[in-house]
């Protein structure tokens, strides 16, 4: 069990991900995995604003669609290169996110969630109706694959898999640095109590806005990768059920942890894939499964494991204290006598 913790655990996971293409013969599995990684990047972003900062943003899927459409439209209609469009996607999401955040973060709790749900709907309706720019319901077709460099190519399923994997590892590492920095601590402080955080001198509005912008940049870049890998976009990408899926990934894996959203994004699609034989009935099974998870495993997989470990550690500490206490009590008088 010790082996699976900390750096060794992550190294093992990365090693497993690296050899994965050689373990499966089917490119279909490879592309499912690639898409899982893309959604994992977006889920990591959502986890920053929801899991760490405590603001339940329901426009996250919309921002992913903005990133995807930025890459899709810039590469096809404006002949930009993939990587410049990719950077632009992140930048556009950052700017839109700043504006939306400035407006929506003035609201708290449920109102914020519902407001962002409406923002998500606005994004969806704009993509669907603004045909001159977004091609409307027809969608964007013929998006080029990410351009290769330094002898690498990203046309094949394997190339794309490794490209996305690199971004996921990078994204997780940066997220790790963010949440363990002073900034990350202030995010958590805001989540735990806004009044207390403010009393500690944390600028509330600015901190929340920063978390929001960072989180939607993750969504935007994930969207950009999605455009380059799937190479076809429809307005459906901005539909609310994509946001709900991201929320589900985050929750099943474990909210407020880094491994959680990644694990959830990989496990849930595999689970729904294996329920494929149920076809339309899939959600009939999955909806109740989600509710049961919420009731019985509210912290998600990673959260539950961490919880249990923390409890065991606390019990051990208590035991040690209990064992030490009589010794300590008897040692003080002897110490006093010597003095």
């Amino acid at each position: 069990m010790k082996l699976l913790q900390g750096k060794t655990g992550w190294a093992l996971l990365i090693a497993l991900a690296l050899v994965f293409p050689y373990m499966v013969s089917n490119t279909y599995f490879l592309s499912v995995m690639t898409q899982s990684y893309i959604f994992a990047i977006a889920a990591l972003g959502l986890n920053l604003i929801t899991g760490y900062t405590g603001q339940f943003n329901l426009a996250h899927g919309g921002f992913m669609a903005i990133g995807a459409y930025a890459v899709g439209l810039l590469t096809t209609d404006y002949q930009w290169g993939f990587w410049t469009s990719f950077v632009a996607a992140g930048a556009i999401c950052g700017v839109v996110g700043y504006l939306v955040g400035a407006l929506s973060l003035r609201m708290t709790g449920h109102v914020f969630s519902i407001f962002t749900l409406c923002v998500g709907y606005i994004i969806y309706l704009l993509i669907e109706k603004w045909e001159d720019v977004t091609h409307g319901a027809v969608g964007v077709m013929g998006i080029p694959a990410p351009t290769g460099f330094g002898g690498l190519e990203f046309e094949s399923a394997k190339g794309q898999y490794y490209l996305v994997l690199v971004f996921l590892i990078l994204g997780a590492y940066i997220m790790h640095r963010i949440v363990h920095s002073l900034l990350g601590r202030s995010f958590v402080a805001v989540r735990n109590s806004e009044a207390l955080a403010e009393a500690l001198g944390i600028p509330l509005a600015r901190t929340k806005r920063l978390a929001f912008v960072l989180s939607v940049i993750y969504a935007g870049l994930a969207g950009g990768l999605y455009a380059g890998v799937v190479r076809f976009l429809g307005p459906d990408l901005a539909a609310t059920h994509h946001t709900f899926e991201l929320v589900m990934f985050m929750l099943v894996g474990g909210i407020g942890t880094i491994l959680g959203p990644i694990l959830g994004s990989i496990l849930v699609p595999w689970l729904t894939q294996s329920l494929q034989f149920l076809q339309d009935y899939r959600m009939v099974v999955f909806g109740p499964v989600l509710i049961l998870l919420l009731i019985f495993v509210p912290n998600g997989i990673v959260g539950t494991i961490l919880h249990r470990r923390a409890r065991r550690a606390a019990a051990l500490r208590e035991q040690a204290q209990a064992a030490n206490a009589p010794a300590a009590a008897s040692s003080t008088p002897t110490g006093a006598r010597h003095a």
């Binding site: 929801t50 339940f56 407006l103 003035r106 609201m107 708290t108 709790g109 449920h110 109102v111 969630s113 519902i114 407001f115 749900l117 409406c118 923002v119 709907y121 606005i122 309706l125 704009l126 109706k129 609310t240 059920h241 709900f244 929320v247 589900m248 929750l251 909210i255 339309d280 009935y281 899939r282 959600m283 009939v284 999955f286 909806g287 109740p288 989600l290 509710i291 919420l294 009731i295 509210p298």
Partner: protein, 287 residues
């Protein structure tokens, strides 16, 4: 000028439907402080159940409406018992996601039973009538009348009967209500039942001039949320006025600007109003 009144009538029709849906939503929010995302799925279920009653069992329109209201009220109470009650001590995020789980379940269920196709619901009030020089479908008048009657009855129920007053007491202060001997479980169940029945009746009223399909609840519920934010979460008059504002704004906006962007109007209105008044139109401060 005729066209103006025509839009006014259309606005009142849609506004009536929105008000009924938003009322159910705001009642549940007032009691449980949970934004029930599954409310739109209950609305959809109401339309499908009535459709089933009419097509397969050959019931008439009114009986189908009554039956559907009962079925959806039971569904709504089940959702409360099996899901929200179990999560009463969980963080609010979990309630919201559980509601999404119910939504996915109901939508997939409807799709599994009736398919993803669009259905047309027949109404005995499809004929054209003339009123004050305006020609319109009788169903539209029925919607307006139905909304007015339901809102009045609900208002009288909440203010004039003891059972109704217990609901208001619970919304004002849960602990206080429990202290004076109000059974919290019973009141919560009652509120969920009323909320579900309102959604079902709204759906059955609106379906004959619209269509019945599994995703029909999406836009309606999102707009109902817009309405209860505008009107103040948990506010009864806010839901009615908000519903009418959004309905009229859509009818006139769709007519004078563009029908393509008609559905955007509600959301843009929300963004603009909340930018100026983050606490909503009618609420005096944070809830």
């Amino acid at each position: 000028m005729d066209l103006f009144f025509q839009q006014l009538l259309n606005g009142l029709t849609i506004g009536g439907v929105y008000s009924l849906v938003a009322l159910g939503l705001t009642l549940v929010y007032g009691i449980l402080h949970v934004p029930n995302f599954a409310h739109g799925a209950l609305y959809m279920a109401g339309a499908f159940v009535a459709f089933y009653f009419m097509e397969s069992l050959g019931l008439n329109y009114w009986l189908a409406m009554l039956g559907s209201a009962l079925v959806v009220a039971v569904l709504s109470m089940l959702a409360e018992r099996l899901v929200f009650h179990k999560l009463r001590n969980a963080p609010p995020l979990h309630d919201m996601i559980a509601a999404i789980g119910i939504l996915l379940f109901l939508e997939a269920g409807a799709q599994a039973i009736w398919g993803a196709d669009f259905h047309r619901m027949q109404s005995p009030y499809g004929q054209l009538v003339e009123i004050f020089g305006l020609t319109t479908v009788a169903q539209r008048l029925l919607i307006i009348a139905g909304a007015v009657v339901l809102v009045t009855v609900l208002h009288l129920f909440l203010t004039r009967t003891t059972t109704g007053l217990t609901i208001i007491a619970m919304a004002q202060n849960r602990d206080g209500a429990a202290l004076v001997g109000i059974d919290a479980t019973r009141v919560t169940m009652l509120v969920f039942a009323i909320s579900g029945a309102l959604a079902a009746v709204a759906a059955v009223l609106y379906s004959p001039i619209n269509l019945v399909y599994p995703a029909m609840g999406h836009l309606v519920i999102t707009k109902a949320f817009v309405i209860i934010i505008l009107g103040g979460m948990g506010s009864f008059p806010g839901a009615i006025v908000g519903g009418l504002i959004i309905g009229l704004a859509e009818a006139f906006g769709g007519f004078y600007f563009s029908t393509d962007y008609k559905d955007l109007i509600a959301f843009v209105l929300l963004v603009v109003i909340l930018s100026v008044r983050p606490q909503g139109l009618f609420s005096k401060g944070a809830h």
